[in-house]
């Protein structure tokens, strides 16, 4: 028999907690609920869940503090749940090691997709995946890491070195949001304000790989937070 993945929900709103656990239970997850930050931390140590859904606005401890606490000794994936308009909070959470975020209100399918992605990127599976990963394919886009070539519709695309680096970084983390600061640090190294350069490069990449840069399919913008490369094309 299968071992069900364990999800820890740290959320003080009962209604939201109820509805999330209903979805998860019906999709074959095991759910633990915590109403406060302290309870969440103690449940985390006693149950060792596979993934955590963390609300940032908790009554006792700031969500970011809980995140820092967990990240001190564990790499368990954490998805942050927050309201729209709190971009800075989300960016902070991502920079402190959250794996992803989801904005209230969200739909069932969106939640499940995010959980699946986060689980896939979790440490246990990542090591297994990283070895065999030589080619990244999504939709009509193909990246060959060995040959350092990108194809669209089977045709080779010419990219500048920086553009290629960016694409590799995003594709290796496909499904995950990468914050602007993270990308800049990874690509340009130093912590300078390269956000303009980043936007220009991103616009250029989109013009090369997307059908329509105004309605991108491969690299999605998360306003005020960062960029996300899709793992599979959305319908429509």
């Amino acid at each position: 028999m299968d071992i069900k993945p364990v999800v820890l929900i740290i959320e003080d709103e009962e209604a939201i907690c109820n509805f999330i656990s209903a979805i998860l239970i019906s999709n074959d997850y095991q759910v633990i609920k915590a109403k406060t930050g302290k309870e969440g931390l103690s449940l985390f140590t006693s149950h060792v869940p596979d993934i955590i859904l963390l609300d940032l606005g908790l009554p006792d401890i700031d969500g970011v503090e809980i995140l820092k606490n967990i990240r001190q000794w564990s790499k368990t994936p954490v998805i942050v749940v927050s309201a729209r308009g709190h971009e800075r909070e989300k960016v902070a959470a991502l920079d402190f090691g959250a794996d992803d975020y989801i904005v209230k209100p969200f739909g069932t399918s969106e939640l499940l997709a995010r959980i699946r992605t986060a689980m896939r990127h979790s440490p246990q599976s990542a090591t297994a995946e990283a070895l065999g990963d030589e080619v990244f394919i999504v939709g009509k886009l193909e990246i060959d890491y060995n040959k350092r070539v990108v194809y669209k519709d089977g045709e080779k695309i010419h990219l500048t070195p920086i553009e290629y680096k960016l694409l590799v970084l995003l594709s290796k983390n496909a499904g995950k949001v990468l914050t602007h600061d993270f990308i800049i640090r990874e690509i340009w190294g130093v912590y300078t304000d390269e956000s303009h350069t980043l936007r220009v490069n991103m616009a250029n990449i989109r013009r090369k790989i997307e059908e329509n840069p105004g309605a991108p399919q491969y690299i999605l913008t998360e306003m005020g937070v960062g960029y996300r490369m899709v793992e599979e094309l959305e319908e429509g």
Binding site: R84, G85, E87, P105, G107, S195, H196, R199, V200, M202, A203, N204, R206, R207, N212, P213, G214, A215, P216, L220, T221, E222, M223, G224, E235, G236
Partner: protein, 897 residues
Amino acid sequence: MELFDHRPDPDAILEEIQTHRDQRPGRLKIFFGYAAGVGKTYAMLDDAQERLKSGIGVLVGYIEPHTRPETMQKLHGLPVLPPKTVSYRKMELKEFDLDKALELKPELILVDELAHTNAEGGRNKKRYQDIEELLGAGIDVYTTVNVQHMESLNDVIENITKVQVRETVPDYIFDRAEKIELVDIEPDELLRRLEGGKIYRSDRAETAMQNFFTQENLRLLREIALRCAADKISSENQSERSLSDKMANTKLLVCIGASPSSAKCIRWTARAAEAFHASWAALYVESTESEELTAQQQKTIRENLDLAEKLGAELVNLTGHDIAATVSEYAKLSGITNIVVGKSRNKKTLKNLFDMDFEDKLISLLPNIEIHIIPGSVAKRNYKKPRKKIKYDRFHFTWTDTVKTLSILGGATLLSFWLHKLNIMNQNIIMVYIFSVLLVSRMTEGYWYGIIASAVSVLTFNFFFTEPYFTLNAIQSGYPLTFVIMLLVALITSALTVRMKAEARLAVRREHRTEILYEINKKLLATRGLDRIVDLTNDYVVKLFERSVIFFTTDPEHGENGEVRQAADDIGSDVLNFADEKAVAHWVFLNQKRAGAGTDTLMGAAAFYMPLISQGKVLAVWGISCGKGNLDHNTRLFLRMIASQVAMALERQHLSDEQRNIMVESEKEKMRSTLLRAISHDLRTPLAGILGASSVIRENGKMLDENTQGSLIANIQEESQWLIRMVENLLSVTRLNEDASNLKKSPEAAEEVVGEAVSRIKRRFPQCKILVHVPEEFLEVPMDGTLIVQVLINLLENAIKYSPADSPIEVRLEREGTWARFEVMDRGRGIPNEDLPYLFTGYKPNESRSADSSRGMGIGLSICKTIVNAHQGNLEAENRKDGGTIFRFTLPLKGSE
């Protein structure tokens, strides 16, 4: 009830703000004595001990270190502020630490020796200025002073004691004191103390006794001190009456000149004015000769004017050639009852034999006004001499003037020859020469060419036209008289023309000033906006005085920079915006007084700072660079005139700003209440639906078939989604409303914003077809991304709602010059023309349909409009010719960040 107590009381907060803004000034108590050793410090400390016992926060700010042991014992138990050590010429001086005292802010502070002069390097030159600052900060002050330090009694005391007291305190400080405590002992007792070494050490006591502490001196000083205190009390007793009297009864006028003895007149007038409870003015008449004053004399005048101002006079500056006439004109116009003039005995020049004395002239011009004559000191003669030398200096040899003189005289001689030939009489020739002298005086600079011309013309006339011809002898008997008359006429005419010219020049200068003032005033009236007022004023100051200027419109307490205009070859912004200079400006803001170079406060500064005050509030502070030397009196006076104009303009600006703010606030308030009304209505409808549907399912769940149940749940979902969109819009509004000007803009890629909006709409309406066009060019627009996404979502949502399900919606992004243009186009039914004007207002006037049926047709759009406007953009809608609607908005590509 208890629960609410910890909430701050709004009145209390208001009060706190008020006290922070305009504090109650501190109260001053002066312990007043007639000589050192009468026990002022002792009395002060005694009083302080009492106050300490009654629970008042007392701090001993400064006590003279040579204080006697008995007095020092009184210090016991009082907290003492350690003095600041200042090194001056290798001496360690202990000074009162003003900054620390201001920082500690005790309720009551004791500062000994009001008349003390601070060591160089301190902020203020005098201790009384320190004390004024303390009072200004709301701290009560106790201090001590002796009668000989009173500014207005200075000369009287000097006469009695023959000791000149340099450390003086202006009388207004004395008037400002709430209480004067007279500390008095018998002179005999004082002398006994002195002998006992209780006042000075015995070696110094000896000299002191010989010079100052004589029995007679002490008795006189005591009398003056007692009278002074009595005056103060009596003036307090009649203070109410004296206010009204001041206007009606007496008004004194003192005439100030360049003479140092003017100071005496000023002090006398100040005392007299005090005794009469009268107001008084100090008048300085700028005459044609004032240009010739030496630097020393100009300085004396400035000092005299400063002294008069310090003693409470109203300063008047007039120009005129005849001083007496000018003074009398002014006195008549402003209702002066008494005039005080100085008089020196040493005027024994030839000219004075003919001239009427100044005071005689005044008396004849003003028979109804009392004139007080104060004898001047002997110093007069020293000062008269350099003036004559100056007159010599004034003869400048210039070729043009010489040529002019020679040609005019030559012409006159030629004309005379011709007249002579025609046998026209000599009288006419004399006329010709006099005329030529007049011409020369008119056309050349100064007296000298006129005088030379008159001498030359007498000689030529003698040489050519008197018998015997071609000799300088005159045979005919009446000729010498003719010569003398001719010379006199020539001299007088030349002197007159010169004076006329000088007066014309003065008039022109005065006219020029008035003109400039008028011009500034006119321009200020036409100027709107603080920046422009500052620009305009700075321009004028630089143009007029050729000095750099700095203008602070806000207190540079936290290091804000002032607006600097640099004059050619003068110091610039780097100096004027230096932290030290800002500290001076800050001081001026706090103390409402002039400071900086050329004043008594913070004289180390690079510029002269003056406040622009209106109705007791400092609106701005002005700094005029003194990199080219300190400002002279005229410049300061002129600056002050300009300052009052600028202050008026600033005040007007403040008032209009305030009014506009109030209007904006009320506009906002109106918008908010409209919005609130619309929203609360809009929210009720879907909530009713949700509540109804959910309660039906809960209560009758089993009786409903699957279809009905499913559609009820779908309804709940739809309504909730609508509510969420509504709330998101509202959130955008609150983001805007917090402070529209404070919109956080950062550069965003326009195409990303479009992409984000489209992807979010697609998630909500997956079946919908949206065509997106973005330009090849990368467009970066400064904006609040979240808000613009909201705008696009609202527009897209509208487009979807009002167009057939299968028709595509287009989103287009283009560059249009310096603007980014966003368009959302649909193929829907369009907007009725009569609705177009009200599209963005959120509601329609004369709405005939019931409000329930239209679920907020416009809140979304009115929010869009507000957001776009806040980005300095423009949102508009129009119907397409071939069916459908275009919503179009533009955002500036380069905006203020």
